[in-house]
């Protein structure tokens, strides 16, 4: 993975010093809260319901064991012993004191981490496929592109006060695990007709109040022009994005209002001026960055481990976990391992400091020292020998980290909601917990098959409800929590936005409603159909009728 050189190290150290100065100025009153707010937000520091919340960037979701241990240490020393992994592949701490934040940032800098651009109207932390460098279907490791973008966007002098926040995601594989179609800019690494690798660039996707699927601005961008093209898009957005209404300020509204053709025309016109200029990243620098993402030294192994096969036959629990948690690796004899942060009845995405330490340890011993954060709030060990899976599973199990529910009905995304978040209308986490308990039987969950439930506590959609197979949105009706259900959303390469089923359900009824939807699906499904397949075949109507019929 990428390692800081002295320039990167100097930069984050200077950033910490700058923020330390800003905090000091705030504490003695040289800065008012109005003046300080944007400064703390540029460092990922929010003021939430109970306390400050610090959001730490995990660029494209990649962590080393050393970094994970530092995150554990911070949770213990400055927080309440846990952290929350988010849908943007970041980690949030819910209880840091303002006066401690400069020290936290200094500790992060020691392990080449920061909280830069995790909030504010700037180019946010870039996200990428959690299986980067490991997935069998990958064209190229998207983290190279993501790191180039991370550096270019760091304290960008022109684009730090955009109309609104700006999120970029990159996928290097045709199967999109990074939800690029619902980002302000989505980048797909693609192969052109002549086999050349380049980028398909989407813009104007997003969730929130007005969800939209991103549109293709350019079907094929040759690699050397990455940064000039991004700069052209950002400049058009900075100049023409709406600033009169915060709810209409995202780039998706601009793209929608002027139309993709006019938007593309403006971008290409701007691009003509700057393509090939100093903004482009030199090839040698790309090679330098790419060298950090060279594959680890894999052992040469048979494609299938006999031991692993045997262990699955003899241990049904292990077999179940393997079925849920493993993903094919490009290297024979290896597997990608997903670690569920969704224990039955637990808080989605939360990990204790002890668990973080254990995972760091396991990564060091079994996975070339790497951990990934997924946008579905789980963790991934990208490169594990199949021969080691049984031992790994036992250790995960002992730490409460072997719930065999990845991609099932209990692998729920939930934002912090009203239990933490200042903007929330309703709680999200307890709903996730109750659904998880309702479907707590793992075998039953596997029988239901792939089912993605995503819950947001307000229309900002941090819980990605628009792209949940079942989406749940918390709304406030005269001070009472209600929940709207949507069906048919999809965050992958077949991206779609969910459709509202009907009237909202109260806090005590929403879990019953979800269970009913699952039963309706089970009654309708044909062989091998996932929930989403059935939904796409039969449409909203049968679900709607049956859901409200008994009411």
């Amino acid at each position: 993975m990428y390692r800081y050189d002295e320039f990167d190290q100097t930069f984050v150290a200077q950033r910490v010093a700058q923020f330390r100065d800003q905090v000091a100025r705030r504490l003695v009153g040289e800065l008012t809260e109005d003046e300080f707010r944007p400064l703390r937000l540029m460092n990922g520091l929010y003021l939430q319901l109970h306390a400050y919340m610090l959001r730490v960037a995990v660029p494209y979701g990649t962590l080393s064991s050393r970094q994970m241990r530092k995150l554990a240490h911070i949770a213990r020393r400055y927080d309440k012993g846990y952290g929350h992994f988010t849908t943007r592949q970041n980690i949030q701490y819910n209880w840091p004191a303002l006066k401690d934040v400069p020290d936290i940032l200094m500790e992060l800098a020691e392990v080449e981490m920061h909280a830069l651009q995790t909030s504010g109207n700037c180019i946010r932390n870039v996200t990428a496929d959690q299986y980067s460098g490991a997935a069998a279907d990958e064209i190229e490791d998207p983290r190279i592109c993501a790191e180039v973008i991370r550096q270019w966007s760091s304290l960008h002098p022109e684009f730090s006060f955009l109309p609104r926040k700006f999120k970029v995601a990159v996928t290097g594989a045709p199967h999109d695990r990074a939800a690029v179609a619902v980002h302000d800019i989505g980048i797909r690494i693609v192969r052109g007709d002549d086999g050349e690798v380049g980028y398909a660039v989407l813009a104007g996707g997003g969730q929130g109040r007005t969800p939209m699927i991103g549109k293709t601005v350019r079907a094929f961008l040759p690699k050397p022009y990455l940064l000039s093209y991004l700069e052209a898009i950002l400049r058009v957005y900075n100049e023409f994005g709406r600033r009169d209404n915060m709810f209409k300020a995202r780039i998706k509204i601009l793209v929608h209002e002027v139309g993709i053709d006019e938007f593309r025309r403006r971008v290409e016109e701007e691009w003509e001026h700057i393509r090939g200029t100093a903004v482009e990243v030199p090839e040698e620098e790309v090679r330098r960055i790419a060298s950090y993402f060279a594959p680890p030294t894999f052992a040469r192994l048979p494609a299938v481990s006999e031991g692993f096969e045997r262990q699955q036959r003899t241990d049904a629990q292990f077999a179940l976990w393997a079925r849920a948690s493993l993903h094919p690796h490009k290297q024979p004899g290896y597997a990608i391992v997903n670690i569920s942060l969704k224990p039955i009845g637990g808080v989605p995405g939360d990990a204790t400091a002890e668990q973080m330490d254990i995972i760091a340890d396991l990564a060091e011993r079994y996975a070339f020292d790497e951990v990934r954060v997924t946008h579905e709030q789980n963790l991934t060990l990208p490169h594990v020998r199949q021969d080691d899976l049984y031992a790994l599973w036992q250790e995960l199990d002992a730490a409460g980290l072997a719930t065999a529910n990845i991609n099932t009905v209990t692998d729920i995304i939930a934002c912090p909601g009203l239990d933490y978040c200042n903007l929330a209308n309703a709680r999200a986490i307890p709903i996730a917990q109750k659904i998880s308990e309702r479907f707590g039987d793992i075998e039953q969950a596997h029988d239901i098959g792939e089912l993605k439930i995503k819950i947001s506590g307000c229309i900002n959609a941090c819980g990605h409800h628009h792209v949940g197979h079942i989406g749940i949105l918390g709304v406030d009706k005269k001070g009472v929590e209600f929940y709207q259900l949507t069906l048919g959303g999809d965050a992958t390469e077949t991206a779609a936005l969910g459709e509202l089923v009907g009237p909202a359900f109260g806090y005590d009824d929403v879990v019953d409603a979800v269970e009913k939807l699952v039963r309706i699906y089970l009654g309708l499904r044909q062989e091998n159909e996932r929930f989403l397949d059935t939904y796409r075949r039969v449409g909203l109507q049968p679900f709607k009728e049956k859901l409200y019929a008994a009411h």
Binding site: R26, L27, V28, G29, E33, L47, Q48, L49, H50, A51, Y52, K80, W95, P96, A97, L98, K99, V347, L418, D419, Y420, A424, A426, R427, I429, P430, Q433, G479, V480, E481
Partner: protein, 127 residues
Amino acid sequence: MMSKTESKSSKRASEEGVLAISTARGARGEALKAVTANRLVDGLVVYLGGDGWVEALAAARSVSGKEAAAALLAEAEPDVAACRVVGPYVIDVVPDEAGTLQATSERERIRALGPTMRPDLGKQAEA
């Protein structure tokens, strides 16, 4: 997280706060107003009590009527300027059977207690 002197002073304030409540309270269940904010230095939820800011809603000073609420909020302003608290605002509260103030909205209940699924965290854990 809280220094000893701070916790002591808030305890003292809370006793006075209770007195203040009993004088302000009308009939049981009558809607009253209190003022809340977040403490600048650590972000924790605080309420305007009888003598400065307190951490427990039960120790908050409550008043009835719009004007009294505005006056209470005005009392908080110097502490904003003095960098003690951030973003004070008025909330609705009602005394319960025992006369203890409770927030009426879900949001304020959660602020007063802590995350609903983590009784080990927040003010509810300290109670």
